[in-house]
Symmetry: C2
Subunit: 309 residues, 2 copies
């Protein structure tokens, strides 16, 4: 066909952001928050009046926000409104349990993929990133099956894998920041590869339900506590953020963040919250948002292992 | 792979709507309006402060809306806010001109497709629907090239085509409701097939700029006035709606709506505004919104010719 895509040729003027601004909340986050609020409200209640009230209150709140906060911080506030108006402590409870059950069922198959791989550590890393597909905190959803296919068959752009191996070998203490339910079974594959009985591994989850993020109960359900010490990084907080925002972190977590030999961080939320900290972090994530893609310098739907210093 | 899509198996409780409620504004329209407002604000200005102010004012307005209005009515209000705050009479001016220029360049190629087709009328109908892809009023964007491919190569589910032909043959007066800029060149193909020098054809555009909807100037640019009388269906109104909402229509248009032998209506906006009227209408549209898909009983991205009585 000689007719080209008309839309792609049409120049919609959009502002691009400087690197220093990146990972603060953008205007693009607003419609995304509102879409997510509606989804969460519908999980919590079938009552359309309450769903409409959630949208109204979230819009009211977003009118007055500061764009210098990070998306996880705003998400914390938005989801507090949703929980309050729907009178639900955990709107995502059902989908979280379903994610855990399904990932648990897939675990033996995934374990075999790791065992049979030429490089088991690399396969475990790739699959732990694939697990990050299970996310209700973003607008763009991907298919886990397709992503496992990508992990197994395709070349992985892993410039930072040698550094990961090198640091892993030298490290006696590892801090592993979890992201979502379901995904934790994919993390388990990686934890089993890196734990050698000598390394002290700490697995960090959220103190309270926030979107579909994993909590201590989830980590125990997945048997993570057999391979790592499980802690809530925001212990003592009454609300959790999707992504470990340092201003809400516990003293214990902050100490570990400083002293651990190696830090592995899962997911976009933790990337948004930690991408500026002053130490080496290995970020493992699936890129599900165009702003994060832009910040990392990659494309949507990419499996990413990125070391940032 | 034996691992199935995890998300597709997860049951997110969503409310389904009864047919009688359909085509009123839904909660799902809210995030969509906000996303569109940001896009329009960015077309009008590069100033992020003004863009943020647009979002704030649109959210403020949407907090107080009635869900018994149709989406085009609400869209009218939302875009008035955008125009006012950005101090722009027509934020879409640039993309509209680009759409017109590109469609004009493609017109000779499209005309040849019609000429060479076994059934020229059917091909012109299909291509006029393909032209409806050019739309900045919806969140889901499609590729014109792909859609022309669909029109040319694929079987078209056209149960209502025989009725279209039959009514066309008997009709002496035809009311043709236009939708978007660019698309009007695709309409021209169909107008050239149905005009025989005897039929009285009226082509209805908007009085004022609204999203990328065609106005009288656009219709003249496309040379539509050589084949039809061009009128603004909402003449006398200071604001237009994307979709000919009857309460804002001119007396002349309402009279034609009653007396014309055949009505051809392009696009989702007109479908949303007219799907309940008490006479036969041939709707030609590309399905770009899941709520419209649900109402019509079809899937997204479908080319639709639907007769409704």
């Amino acid at each position: 066909m000689h007719v080209h895509s008309m839309h792609s040729e049409i120049d919609i003027t959009t502002k691009t952001h400087s690197a220093s601004e990146i990972m603060k909340t953008y205007l693009d986050c607003i419609p995304c928050f509102i879409k997510q609020s509606l989804e969460a409200a519908r999980m919590a209640t079938g009552d359309e009046e309450i769903q409409a009230e959630v949208l109204r209150e979230v819009m009211k709140h977003l009118q007055a926000i500061s764009f210098t906060n990070s998306p996880p911080e705003l998400s914390r506030e938005v989801h507090e409104i949703i929980r309050k108006i729907t009178d639900s402590k955990d709107p995502y409870k059902k989908v979280k349990d379903q994610s855990n059950e399904m990932a648990k069922n897939e675990y033996p198959y995934l374990k075999k993929l790791v065992k049979d791989a030429d490089d088991s550590l690399l396969m475990a890393i790739k699959l732990s990133i694939v697990g990050n597909v299970i996310d209700f905190g973003t607008s763009n959803r991907f298919n886990v099956e397709d992503m496992i296919d990508v992990a197994v068959k395709k070349e992985f752009v892993d410039d930072d894998y040698p550094r990961f191996k090198e640091v892993l070998k030298q490290s006696k203490s590892i801090l592993y920041l979890a992201d979502n339910t379901g995904e934790i079974f994919f993390d388990k594959l990686l934890l089993e590869e890196i734990s050698d009985g000598e390394k002290k591994i700490t697995y960090v989850v959220k103190a309270n339900p926030i979107i579909n993020d994993a909590t201590i109960d989830d980590a125990k359900f997945a048997g993570i506590d057999k391979h790592a010490k499980v802690i809530a990084g925001d212990a003592g907080q009454s609300k959790s953020t999707p992504g470990m925002v340092l201003s809400y972190a516990s003293k214990g977590f902050l100490e570990l963040l400083k002293t651990s030999d190696m830090i592995i961080s899962k997911g976009q939320g933790n990337y948004e919250a930690l991408s500026d900290i002053d130490r080496e972090v290995f970020f493992l994530l699936m890129v599900k948002c165009p702003l994060v893609a832009n910040d990392i310098g990659t494309e949507m739907a990419r499996l990413v292992l990125k070391v940032k210093e």
